[in-house]
């Protein structure tokens, strides 16, 4: 073997003796000169090298290029032109951005808690022991794997004012005909509904968590006379808090990224009521061709998510109960 990158404990005995050094190819000789610890480090870095390169090329690099571009005007066609703080100034005085941020925050504040509660509720339902429970688990999970395009068309059709199924159900119970996608007051609710339909992913994570709680805790609580509600409140919820926290963080992040449904169902309308932040970034970049401004908005989104994550970790993360700290 030309290069034997052995580093495990077992190779201690097989370390090259002095006369081996100086033989073979240059690379082999260099490798043989290294101490065991150095070899381990070298081989370790070889393993994670693809990730490191990927991080530099596709994360850090683009972030820095975008940072550079925030000070420029660029429309693809001509060379980027330096404009100083123009884009930042524009960001602070942009009424459309203010609207976009407002509706994104409102959507997040409504859909994340509702989705979390609904996913937790469904997980408890499908945690029951019935004969056909696997079928129910499948049905509840399916919506979360529908392709985004199909999802958008499906919901645009369901919410259709005249011929959609949802208005049909409402009207057959004597309700009014609701302009789900035409009325700025209703369209937010429509987006919340279609988001909540797809909570299957977090539901399965909750289910896994529920099944991981040792049964003995429930039995102990039952012997102490705890009813169903008390068992939920004093056993299930504390034991599940790390998973609730995980789903909360993931939920917040994805709620700030609504894009495909807004683009395909309403195209930001009516009256910019669904012009979510990512859609506005997309439009600035690819429809108005303001790459510099789009770069500023991307950095803004990044900053918002960092601050949000910090708040969530600081104020909610500290209340999470971990059964085995450090695991």
């Amino acid at each position: 073997m030309l290069l034997n990158f052995s580093v495990g404990k077992a190779t201690m005995a097989a370390l090259p003796s002095d006369q081996n050094i100086g033989q073979g190819f240059w690379l082999t000789r260099q490798y043989n000169r290294l101490s065991l610890k150095q070899r381990r480090t070298l081989v370790g870095y070889v393993f994670i090298l693809p990730f490191i390169l990927g991080f530099l090329f596709w994360w850090l690099g683009p972030a820095l290029v975008a940072g550079h571009l925030t000070m420029h005007k660029w429309n693809f066609l001509s060379a980027p032109r330096f404009v100083g703080l123009f884009n930042f100034n524009k960001m602070l005085n942009d009424p459309i951005l203010a609207q976009s941020l407002r509706i994104t925050v409102i959507f997040s504040a409504i859909s994340v808690p509702l989705g979390l509660v609904f996913a937790f509720f469904l997980a408890n339902l499908i945690n029951a022991k019935f004969r056909f429970i696997a079928i129910f688990r499948t049905i509840y999970f399916l919506p979360s794997i529908v392709p985004a395009v199909a999802n958008a068309i499906l919901w645009a059709w369901l919410f259709n004012t005249e011929f959609g199924l949802i208005n049909y159900v409402i009207r057959s119970f004597g309700g009014p005909k609701i302009g789900w996608l035409q009325d700025p007051n209703w369209v937010m609710l429509a987006f919340v509904i279609l988001t909540i339909w797809g909570v299957g992913g977090s539901m399965i994570i909750f289910l896994a968590g529920l099944q991981g709680i040792p049964q003995i805790f429930f039995e102990a609580a039952e012997i102490d006379g705890a009813g169903r509600w008390q068992r939920l409140r004093h056993v299930t919820l504390p034991m599940m808090s790390p998973i609730i926290f995980f789903n909360l963080v993931i939920g917040f992040i994805s709620s700030f990224q609504v894009f495909v449904s807004a683009l395909l169902i309403t195209d930001g309308g009516p009256q910019r009521a669904t012009l979510f932040l990512v859609l506005y970034i997309w439009r600035s970049a690819f429809e108005s061709q303001k790459m510099g401004y789009a770069a500023v908005l991307s950095w803004l989104l990044f900053a918002i998510l960092m601050v949000l994550s910090f708040i969530v970790f600081r104020y909610i993360g500290s209340r999470v109960y971990y059964e085995n700290p450090g695991e």
């Binding site: 390169l53 199909a150 059709w157 700030f256």
Partner: protein, 294 residues
């Protein structure tokens, strides 16, 4: 019923005595299960039934639940309206390369994070976790700028090259969790027999990780199949479109009617559902592995 010394037995014996509350709770659970199952599945039935209706029957109030006449030719019309054969080939090409990239490079990196001890490892794993929580949307415009500088716009390169660099934080994390469940003694035995660290990865860990590799392979395929944003951002000419972009372009053309949009949506969803039923075990496993054991 005598008092039992063993608490578990005591509880068990109490359980057999079903109170009215228990029976009520049982039936309430069944009712809610069925109710929400209907709520969740109705959109699918509505999509499928609408995709088989004539244009006239789609715009009918009150709506028909069962199409009459049934129009399977909607699918043929939708799939021939645009060159979906080419779109399908493009999608499979992109998805296939993504699967290969992710399966090999994410497991490779994960091995380093799971089984090697070296200075800086935890720092880099921290970066992996940070990119897991950093959303794609933040990078949408910055990556586009980089790829346009590289001259990669309107090629598949922006969609297939990046996965070869680590295969995504989600997959590295998942593979690392899996590798940590494999006993280290197996690897030590191979090392004593003269196996290098790369040999341990290739000959021992990969064959033992088939379930996890299949899981991330399926997730990757599904993600590439479903992805709209990537192809929409980077692909310009119609002969490069993927299926998702092809269907999305239906929306921007006002002359394409609902029956075709709905038939195309059904057609792109059915393979996903079929894949789900074939590989259900791996789906659940994958979600469970990422959600637990932080």
């Amino acid at each position: 019923m005598g008092f039992s010394e063993n608490p578990a037995e005591f509880v068990e014996s109490r359980r057999s005595l079903k109170s009215y509350g228990d029976i009520l709770f049982h039936w309430l659970t069944v009712f809610l299960l069925v109710f929400f199952a209907v709520v969740m599945i109705t959109p699918f039935i509505w999509l499928f039934s609408s995709s088989l209706k004539t244009q006239i029957n789609i715009f009918q109030y009150p709506p028909q639940l069962i199409p009459d006449p049934v129009m399977p030719e909607n699918f043929v019309r939708a799939m021939t309206y645009k060159p979906f054969g080419i779109y399908f080939r493009n999608t499979i090409l992109v998805a296939g390369l993504n699967v290969i990239a992710v399966v090999f490079t994410s497991s490779f990196c994960a091995y380093g994070f799971a089984r090697m001890r070296f200075p800086g490892r935890d720092f880099w794993f921290g970066i992996v976790m940070a990119t897991l929580f950093l959303p794609y949307a933040v990078l949408l415009v910055p990556s586009f700028i980089v790829f346009s500088r590289l001259g990669w716009i309107d090629t598949f390169l922006p969609l297939v090259v990046p996965p070869f660099f680590g295969g995504g934080a989600f997959n590295i994390f998942l593979m690392r969790q899996f590798f940590r469940t494999i006993p280290e003694e197996i690897a030590d035995a191979a090392r004593i027999d003269g196996c290098s660290e790369f040999g341990v990865y290739w000959r021992i860990m990969l064959p033992l990780s088939k379930p996890a590799l299949i899981t991330i392979g399926i997730f990757t395929f599904l993600f590439a199949w479903n992805d709209l944003i990537g192809p929409l951002t980077y692909l310009r000419s119609t002969e490069n479109f993927t299926i998702a972009v092809g269907i999305a372009s239906f929306r921007s053309q006002t002359d394409i009617s609902w029956d075709l949009q709905l038939a195309a949506s059904t057609a792109v969803t059915l393979p996903v559902i079929a894949l789900f039923f074939l590989a259900q075990r791996y789906f659940i496993q994958g979600v469970v592995m990422t959600g637990l054991k932080g």
